[in-house]
Amino acid sequence: MKKPNVAIAGLTACFGCQLTLLDCENELAAMADRFTFAYFPMGVTTRTIEGDFDAAFVEGAVSTPEDLEMLVHLRSRSRLLIALGTCARWGGIAGLKNNEPRLPLAETVYGGDAHHIDTFNPGPLHRFVSVDAAIVGCPPEKPDIIATLAALLAGTLPVFTAYPVCMECRERENLCLLIERNKLCLGPLIQSGCGARCPAAGMVCEGCRGPAAETNSVAQETLLREKGFTRDEIASRMRRFSWEWDHDQDH
């Protein structure tokens, strides 16, 4: 069998998605055996992007001209472009103040030197290029990465369940923090696949996997308002990882 050629690259990111791949301690040898990591600066010394890729995994949001250049470069060389992680799929944490202009934000940090810095509001990959598949999560779950690589070997892309975190949370028989503790849990809105990791550890879902395929954000907001949370609090939580909420009421 021909080894698929893959590229793994990071844009505006914390490198957690790539690190998750390197954290697949038990599978790393099999990965090295089955794939050619033709471009993967974090793990392998390769400085040039050469040849074509069967798949490029791109981590991070796009927030600088260099990011965009890299993204377009990878897109034009890869049969499949896969968004790796919530930053790449939804914009992620770096975009949580995307409602504010960029320069004043940069000034908060870089002061008078801010104009040296070429940066725009971080956006997800699909705003700039076509994306074939996405692995979500901040950071992504190892099994999702492994399933995607395995699907590439089988000649296809993976399917992930489309329902929200609550479903998995119930399956695990966690205490519902929204109902029983009146906490601001975003589980009903968020893409499953993490096994309701946070509620299982007694913490609310902070929404790190981004919106589920189908959400009723209006109803969730109404519910949270009834529970006493302010509009600002709810908005701040919902926009931590994504701005792309579909507020349509489908019925």
């Binding site: 998750t20 940069a106 902070e206 701040s236």
Partner: protein
């Protein structure tokens, strides 16, 4: 005629970096290290957010150091509001900090540095030329990650670390599993020290370190409240601004730092150059290599990391035993009312001293945020050493020069994604 050669991107490091070497003929004129990570403006993202959200957001600054970022931010928040946490919570935090240390050091030593020792490009080839070493490294790394997963609820960006207490306390079964995973690794960690003790740099020496590390009385290793520089100029963490100055340089998105006007180095080797209270086995190793570490330039850092790895495993086992012997009755959440105030805290991240400082208003909304990361502190030293190495290798083959330069940078274990941040302007003006 001058020309420039580039290492772009720096590979097998966390984050985006470039080394630019300016040559006149074959002579190295100047070297620039550019930490060109796209700026994520974390301090700006935090302003206006509730103190509850701060740790959850700030840990995303960096994946490898997410645990220590989160812990440091908790400590700063707790300081701002005068919250005291229970001994059980402190032990959990110490354990997960050590877990992060194990995972990070193992990743760095085995996946990023080891390929250099075998002359290969990365872990993919290591799987062929040094499968046993790679396997050992991954096993140790996995154990560190298991600690983070068990205590933190997740390996990267842990979720149970919250102000005032733990979101979840480890169950006896979980602690037992951790013990069973770590105990067999103790002898292995000694082998790791031997592997890295055997490595001698092939290129000319650069400057010896002038170390900076966190110290404190009656606190575990990696914790503290004094920023200590060898012999002189120590400062309380709260006064970090008096000691550390940052400066914007046009070729990098991270500011370079100096401490008391000097170029300093933080990290494993710097920590070990003070008199650390290491665990018994690690103390033995340290004693054996003390001289060598003291005289070495930064390329002693990998050996220092190996010794720390041993300490982290041994100490984790102790903490696990302590936790297992104290029945962890679920603690009541401590009541605290956020109020106006500032808090500053520091911890030792795998790659050096990390400082978080926040201001809050009366509702606990963040008004100022400042984060100083170890890689930002090390940036000046890295540049200095690169130049020295370049000069020392005068006339050397270009490829070899660049290879040695990349190894030198790697020895610092830089973590570029978190290095990119800067200080609030108004605070700077206030100085």
């Amino acid at each position: 005629m001058t020309r420039t050669i580039e290492l772009k991107p720096l590979t097998r490091v966390e984050g985006h970096g470039i080394v630019r070497v300016y040559l006149d003929g074959n002579r190295v004129e100047n070297v620039e290290l550019s930490l060109c990570e796209s700026p994520r403006l974390f301090e700006a993202l935090l302003v206006g957010k509730s103190y509850r959200e701060v740790p959850e957001i700030i840990c995303r600054i960096c994946s490898i150091c997410s645990t220590v970022h989160r812990l440091t931010s908790l400590a700063a928040i707790e300081q701002a509001f005068g919250i005291e946490v229970s001994p059980a919570t402190l032990l959990h935090r110490e354990l997960i900090l050590n877990g992060g240390q194990i995972a990070s050091h193992a990743l760095h030593l085995f996946c990023l540095v080891l390929p250099d020792l075998f002359g290969v490009a990365g872990f993919t080839e290591l799987a062929e030329v040094a499968p046993d070493e790679l396997k050992l490294g991954l096993r140790i790394k996995g154990a560190g990650n298991l600690i983070q997963e068990t205590i933190g609820g997740r390996t990267i960006h842990p979720v149970t670390l919250i102000p005032g207490r733990m979101g979840k306390y480890a169950s006896p079964n979980a602690l037992q599993l951790l013990h069973d995973t770590l105990a067999p690794l103790l002898p292995k960690a000694k082998e790791v020290c031997a592997i890295f003790a055997a490595v001698r740099p092939l290129s000319p020496p650069v400057a010896p370190l002038s170390p900076l590390a966190l110290q404190g009385k009656n606190v575990p290793y990696l914790f503290g409240d004094i920023l200590e520089m060898a012999g002189e100029n120590s400062a309380a963490v709260a006064d970090y601004r008096k000691l550390i100055r940052e400066e914007y340089v046009s070729h990098s998105n991270a500011k370079t730092c100096t401490a008391a006007g000097k170029v300093v180095t933080v990290g494993a080797q710097a920590r070990l150059s003070f008199t650390p209270g290491l665990s018994p086995a690690a103390s033995v190793e340290l004693a054996a290599h003390r001289e060598r570490l003291a005289s070495a330039d930064i390329r002693g850092n990998n050996l220092a990391q190996a010794i720390e790895l041993l300490h982290a495993i041994e100490r984790s086992l102790d903490v696990i035993a302590l936790l297992a012997s104290t029945p962890s009755a679920p603690e009541e959440p401590r009541d605290f009312v956020p109020h106006q105030g500032t808090g500053t805290a520091a911890m030792e991240a795998p790659r050096g001293t990390l400082i978080h400082s926040y201001g809050f208003d009366s509702r606990g909304i963040c008004t100022t945020a400042d984060v100083i990361t170890p890689t930002a502190i090390n940036q000046a030293a890295m540049e200095r050493d690169l130049l020295a190495l370049g000069r020392g290798m005068d006339g050397a083959d270009e490829a070899e020069l660049m290879h040695q330069m990349e190894m030198l940078v790697r020895a610092y274990d830089p973590c570029i994604s978190c290095a990119v941040h800067l200080v609030r302007q108004d605070e700077r003006r206030g100085e």
